[in-house]
């Protein structure tokens, strides 16, 4: 199976290790993984800011880069959701390529969804000696119905116990540029999420989207919680991140 890894711009810039974790997972599922080196962004910032033309130009670029792959996988519900659910809307402006875009959408997956439903991954190498709670990111949950998939995979992680927080489906307040335009409101929403995570009493909050991850981690540290780990599901599935917990976050 030839799979294109859409790394996403935030993983590329902020957390390369998550990109490598995704790569490793796909390879362990028996995929031949290609990583086009010209890839940048799926176009979501433009699309959500009203700049359809830029978003469409980037959508064309993504399709050209990955079209030869049998599947396209992103370690992000938000970017995969942009492609799967919003590219068709964007290509209403370019009807000549609409069918092509639709075909592309159909083979694009969020990582955990792909691992469970397409690659049917049986075992994961990750180990975690502790408890974790899963935050359902909005785009993954409501655009792609990512809910059971990450939990199913986390259940395979040796030593990991999953605890549900009070409202795992409640937005963390990130919202892309919303987090900067309305920083105080965004932080207030993040605070509520952090309080729910704290109340769950888990060693780590695990999630599937970089935006939410940076938002929650940023708020968590600001409110003085240096202990709770904020982890992407891909890294938990691949590595043993327990030691990093015990070392503590400075």
């Amino acid at each position: 199976m030839r799979v294109g890894l859409f790394v996403t711009c935030l993983v590329d810039l902020m957390r390369p290790r998550i990109g490598f974790a995704a790569l490793e997972l796909l390879e362990s599922a028996g995929c031949e993984v290609v990583v086009p080196d010209t890839q940048t962004c799926c176009g979501q910032p433009g699309y959500n800011s009203g700049d359809r033309a830029s978003a469409l130009a980037l959508a064309r670029k993504v399709i050209a880069e990955f079209e030869a792959c049998e599947y396209v996988v992103a370690p992000s519900g938000s970017c995969a959701g942009m492609i799967r659910t919003h590219y068709p809307d964007l290509f209403r402006d370019a009807p000549e390529d609409f069918a092509r875009a639709q075909r592309f959408c159909a083979k694009t997956y969020e990582l955990t969804d792909f691992l469970v439903n397409v690659a049917k991954l049986e075992r994961v190498p990750g180990r975690y000696n502790g408890t974790a709670t899963y935050h359902d990111s909005c785009a993954g949950l409501r655009e792609l119905k990512i809910k059971a998939q990450p939990r199913e995979l986390l259940a395979k992680v040796c030593g990991l116990t999953l605890i549900e927080m009070k409202e795992p489906e409640q937005c963390c307040g990130f919202g892309g540029t919303f987090s900067i335009k309305f920083g105080e409101v965004s932080s207030h929403i993040a605070e509520r999420k952090c309080a729910d995570i704290e109340a769950a009493g888990a060693d780590a909050v695990v999630l599937g989207d970089l935006g939410c991850m940076l938002n929650i981690e940023g708020r968590m540290r600001r409110r003085g919680d240096m202990k709770t780990q904020v982890l992407h599901v891909a890294e938990v599935l691949v590595r043993d991140v327990t030691a990093e917990k015990e070392r503590g976050i400075k």
Partner: protein
Amino acid sequence: MQLTSNRFKQTARAKLADTDLQAALNKLQTNFVKGRADRVAELDNFEAIRDAATAIRDRALAHLDVYLAEFERNATAQGTVVHWAETTVDVNRIVCELAARYGVRKAVKSKSMVSEECALNDALEAAGIEVVETDLGEYILQLAKEPPSHIVAPVVHKTREQVSDLFEARHHRPRTTVIADLTREAREVLRPHFLSAQMGITGANFVVAETGSTLIVTNEGNGRMVTSLPRVHVAITGIEKVVPTLEDVTTLLRLLPRHGTAQTTTNYVSVTTGPRRADDSEGPEHFHVILVDAGRSRLLGGDMEAMLRCIRCGACMNHCPVYQSIGGHAYGWVYPGPMGSVLTPTYAGLENALDLPHASTLCNQCGVVCPVKIPLPDLLRKLREKQFARGLRPWSERAGLAIWGWTARHPRVYALLSAVGARLLNWLGGTDKRIRDLPGGKGWTVGRDIPAPEGKTFRALYAARRAENVRK
């Protein structure tokens, strides 16, 4: 109502710091969010009802002219007088003319959000007519001289103690904080007004084409008195509220109370068909219905038409993380929350509510809970597109988007800039890998750290790994 939507950011900031408001908003989540979920779970065919309700609203909108004409015909046949108001100014003029014609000195009102759009109370008072709001929440707000902050629970932003203080000051009675006593006190004050008013003003949740009726759902019973005691009843509602048949209404009523107040049904469902007949024991002598456009017809046939399906349940705001954080006043006009962020710029002008379409994380919880499936995040995004196309965004944002758009299309430049960015931010993060303050990044760092990047981009590390493998 005065439009203050362009002060959204400042007001929102103040609301975040308002501890009484925050306590009140917490209760909203328990009562309305959990309550709605429970009421919906009771329906084994909820999604089928939701589809049917959506189809009913779409059918009404697709043939709006036909159903409105049918309503007018049937209402007129029952003795109702139907008025058409193109603008909110027309509404106020019509009501004031009716008041003058019937010698009205006092009007009692049941809750009507369309009358808030019109600032009707101000117009009536300017014409020398006393106006008394009789919905408990609206009555409290009238005493406090405040606008509503929620379309179903208008006084949700106030705590019980604040209401006690207000009643004590305005009613000159001993202070009580017992809710039942506060309610009784309001009833005692309001009763003489019901009996002495010459005009009753209501909204209408729906108007029914086949019967020429107007319909309101209420819980307090004030609606019944407003529609039956005064000599004149005026119902004011938007043209989009028409529904073909009474049977259609019953479908919509299975969803409206469950989504609005977490009830299976409201205490009262009042259907008014014409004024009092010869053999009726009660009812007004004159019944007037004002059908209001005020921007609605502009949405027909366009990309925002789905918004006209709205049945004003308030579920979108109850479930919105932004509304839950700041309440309704920051939105700056009649309608708050996601539906308000669509309606305000649409009815009051794109340039008069620049922040609202952006004041959403697009989490789509609103779209998921909407009983008539309005794709609110999509509509907010369309408004963002309209703002962008009209050049209404600040230059800094437009420049930022242009730079981002160009760079993301030029992979080499992008790779270079992101490598520099990753390095720089990593360095700024210092030993504990947290950036607490970033020049130009205050929006983020005002309430959060920036977790520092690892230092190298994925792209660079992956290229290095590939080169290594080749050497091996």
